[in-house]
Amino acid sequence: MVKLSVNGEQHELDIDPATPLLWVLRDHLNLTGTKYGCGISQCGACTVLLNGQTVRSCTFPVSQVKDAEVLTIEGLSEDRSHPVQQAWIEEDVPQCGYCQSGQILTATALLRDKSNPTDADIDKVMTNICRCGTYQRIRAAIHKAAEKQGA
């Protein structure tokens, strides 16, 4: 049995502990907002937060989660009211949208560490791939979210 706390909910699952967290979230807990993109921690579409830190869940065995609290896009807010989600909506960031859960959670972690990140901070932390090329709007949305959080 693997014990897991996701978005504040406790789960006990009868699964192979080597299963990557990504597939546990998607296929066992039906939290499909976390995406599969590459399976080798390259693209970041599978990013979730573990105690507030980003983790690329596609290569992270569920057994390693232990007591940490997992936050997925579904748990970020009840009603898209998180400042990062609000900024994403206002800047109309997503195109196809597939990478955006990972982008939003990575930005959330960045803003927790640095309340007012510079462009260089954004370049360093935002390493998730977006094939639609929404980078410029992501950058603007992060700055906007920083303003909102500061306000």
Partner: protein
Amino acid sequence: MKTITRRQLMKSGATAAGGMMISFHIPAFGKAEPYKPWETDNAEINAWLVIDPDDTITIRVAQSEMGEGVFTSMPMLVAEELEADWRNVRAEYASVNRSIREDRVYKRMGTGGSGAVRRSREYLQKAGAEAREKLIKAAAEKWYVDPKDCYADYGRVHHRSSDRSINYGAIAADAAKVSVANVEIKKPKDFNLLGLPKNRLDVPAKVDGSAQFGMDVRVPGMVYAAVVHCPVLGGTVRSFRFNAIRNNPGVLEAVKLENGVAVVAEHYWQAKTASEQLPVDWNIGEEGKTSSEQFKNEFMAALKEDGVVVASDGDSHTAMEQANNSIESDYIVPYLAHACMEPLNCTVHIQDDRVDVWTGTQNPESALAAAADVAGVAPEKVYVHNCFLGGGFGRRSNPDYVREAVAIAREIGKPVQMIWSREEDMRQGRYRPMAAMRFKAGFDRDKNLTAYTNHSVAHSILAEIRPDSVEDGVDRTSVEGLQNMPYAAANKKITHTIKNTHMTTWFWRSVGSSQNAFALECFVDEMAAAAEKDPLQFRRELLAGHPEMLNVLNELARKADWGKSMPKGSAQGLAIHESFGSIVGQVAEVTISTDGELKVDKIVSAVDCGNLVNPKTAEMQIESGIIYGLTAALYGKLTIEQGRILETNFDTYHMVHMDEAPVMETHFALAGGDKWGGMGEPGLPPTAPAVCNAIYKVTGKRIRSLPIKSYVLQRA
């Protein structure tokens, strides 16, 4: 070596899970016949739109939302004519099953060729106008007044002679029952919605994880399939040893496909892990001895051949001989993968009376036809439920993955979700063709261009998939941009040679223009240098006969401040290209550090797509085309060794990331009139040449093959 398929397992009475009986609950699913997913309790004014009593307007979208914004732009076209309150509008996919049952009521459902607005604008406007007139007529009948004395505005019908008005929701049910004839659409000067920047309707669902992509579909009782394909395209399965994985956790069975094996398990991770451990013996022919180096040599050798004449003017041969000076250059580009963020996947449920397919497809009609064909049922019994597409770029208009998923579902008799791993997605690509181009230009004593020849050698998509549409040895998609080269040359000759390899090709964002604009626009800079002219001035002179291109060029030069002084190591580069009905010019600003690191700092675009539906999504498409094109320009290449593709994931098939994304500025220089150009692709072609032309200014080195990162760059 023993091959076990499901049929054999059933015969032997064993289960694929190694003797353990696993039962699946497959609940009844939509038993009503005929099944009509489009039926609604609310008022369907026509096939395109439904109005609820609370004034919510649902507009059906027959194009595929893959990021380009059709879930917003298509409803805008309808809502403009409907005089709707835009805040009440929501979008949903139109049913392809209904379209084939009802004489193609949704017309063209494929999304590609930057054609969503170009090809469906008018009938969507008419659908909105018809609904508007029906609402007016229903209100007039209710009030016993002349409909001519009524008008629609902002979601209400008004009576001119009195102050009566009524909201659409209150008369929608009546409006659905009346009929109107000869409705007229508005003149552009009367638009009050088209041309205004509107937020995307699909964004809220894309910031909270609720947007449903193909991979997010969950069907009760569903199992998962991972597929291993022959690593060499064209190879087939000789045998496989299911015994090696049959006791793996969750594994249910394996299905032999022509070019691969599907491993089916209770969960995807189990299926994927087992598929990677499955020993498969492949039949690989001569394709297994090929390499990209060999292809390159063969394409370059074919540049020396004469080729088929595509276009010709004057006597280029004599003019070239008589030229005072001439230049010649060869360009070459590799095969490329689409690499959509969402690896290809498809979910299928086959029941006695129906087949359901959930996937993200750019072409629900071809997906439906493919599913019907493989399942062996009438098309009317197939329901393709389109999802949001995690990228398309052309790849998702090919139904190969749908065929495969239906074949697996047919064999296992359970609802199944097939997911290709990133590696399989890369290896089973339908690639952007490889192409090589030779250009020659001759000048007179006064440095005027007098002769121009171009010979291209390209892998032909059409020769591979629709040989009948290859005209006299020319695949027109291969010579887009070369055949219609816009620069004035009194004597010119354009020739072409088709050269196909075992690689499978398909339409890749901007198709022929993706490679041709790179080569042509770089060569135009070479010609400008030979003519001792500024690249902008040279283009202006030779585009004098193309006022719309000239207009874009001039707007671009102004907005980008062409010729401004740049710091050491930095320079501007220029390119312009027309494709899919739109002209896009770009100026790239690049910097090369003292240790040779390239940074593309900024790209300014000027765009003429004639008219705009939604300036916001139009601008996003230019930005998207730039990043997609920049990734291809900087990094894009597939290396083939022993017939196998080496770049199978993002660790080797590199993408532009945030830190490399340039600042992008988009300006519109619209011709207006009847011109409604495409937006999804035209932003891409000028990016590579604009960047390469800027690099030349810093390094003195011409980039004549892509990707750029294969060059060592140094400041001159």
